[in-house]
Subunit: 151 residues, 2 copies
DNA sequence: CTTCTTATTGCAACTATTCGCAATAACCTT
DNA sequence: AAGGTTATTGCGAATAGTTGCAATAAGAAG
């Protein structure tokens, strides 16, 4: 019997959706995990408490939580990762070499989004952007080795 | 017997890869199409000329072309789209409402990438970024209808 | 031209994800 | 509390994409 926020119940009801134990368990599992989870990781956690749950329900519910804007998703290396949406949107920089994730300063994103809005009149969604590249540590290592190989 | 650029052959050979008919056909198919293609669309085109080709080879080769930086990929609506990489990187704005694609001014992206590089010392890959949101036409329609519904 | 090495392919098995559908149960109305 | 409506679930089948492996063939060497 998970104690679920009244907000969640109201949010669903006001849009004609229903509050089910599955949805509560999945939301709670993602919330408790506190980080980015794959559908399979969510399944593993929920399955221990509710063995009858179907994988299809996991996939559908995670998608549903994103539509409700209670969760955000991210594509990384062919996998989808889900996470609870915080008060403020946040973004990530992911290093293609070491796999490290670091936060992307919201201010920089805001400026960019505003510039695109002003100059191209397009409103970019900025829930949860993940951008890929090379972190400082790996860049330094790479230039050192390329210097080496260019001799 | 596709006439293939010598550059392609040399590029592969210099890295220890081999030039195969399959790779030539797939590269040529994507090049001729001139736009964004799904693996299945590539398969359909190549399959007419080379019926023995396997879907696995399509997937593997498209991936390979991206690693060679001869092609770029984009995720959209759960599908991966591939396209020949041009001289200059280019980017897209995709409307979540109407599905329209418009170009994103490279200058705006460059400024953003540079700001991230300067302030966070992270080098973002900027091959082929696709950002999602709301185009002007759809934004106008939406605000009109919300004005209507708020009465 | 022949031989050798091994990168690449096609196949089939496998995994991940989606989808149609009948059974279930949330919740609205009485 | 009971009944009716229909959103949601679990199941199993379908589809999309990946992977291991033996057979093939590209390219290097002689
Ligand atoms: Mn995140
Ligand atoms: Mn493009
Ligand atoms: Zn790194
Ligand atoms: Zn639009």
């Amino acid at each position: 019997m998970p104690v679920m926020s009244v907000d969640f119940a109201n949010k669903l009801h006001s849009e004609g959706y229903r509050l089910t134990p599955q949805r509560q368990l999945i939301l709670e599992a993602v919330r408790k995990a506190g980080g980015h989870l794959t559908p399979d990781q969510v399944y593993a956690r929920v399955h221990t408490r509710h063995p009858a749950i179907s994988r299809a329900t996991i996939y559908r519910t995670l998608d549903f939580l994103c539509e409700m804007r209670l969760a955000v998703a991210m594509q990384w290396d062919g996998q989808t990762y889900y996470e609870i949406a915080g008060e403020q949107p946040h973004h990530h920089l992911i290093c293609r070499t070491c796999g490290g994730i670091e936060p992307l300063a919201p201010g920089l994103v805001d400026s960019f989004v505003e510039a695109v809005s002003r100059k191209q009149r397009f409103t970019i969604d900025m829930d949860h952007i993940a951008l890929f590249g090379l972190c400082e540590r790996c860049r330094v290592g790479k230039s050192a080795s390329s210097r080496h190989s260019s001799r």
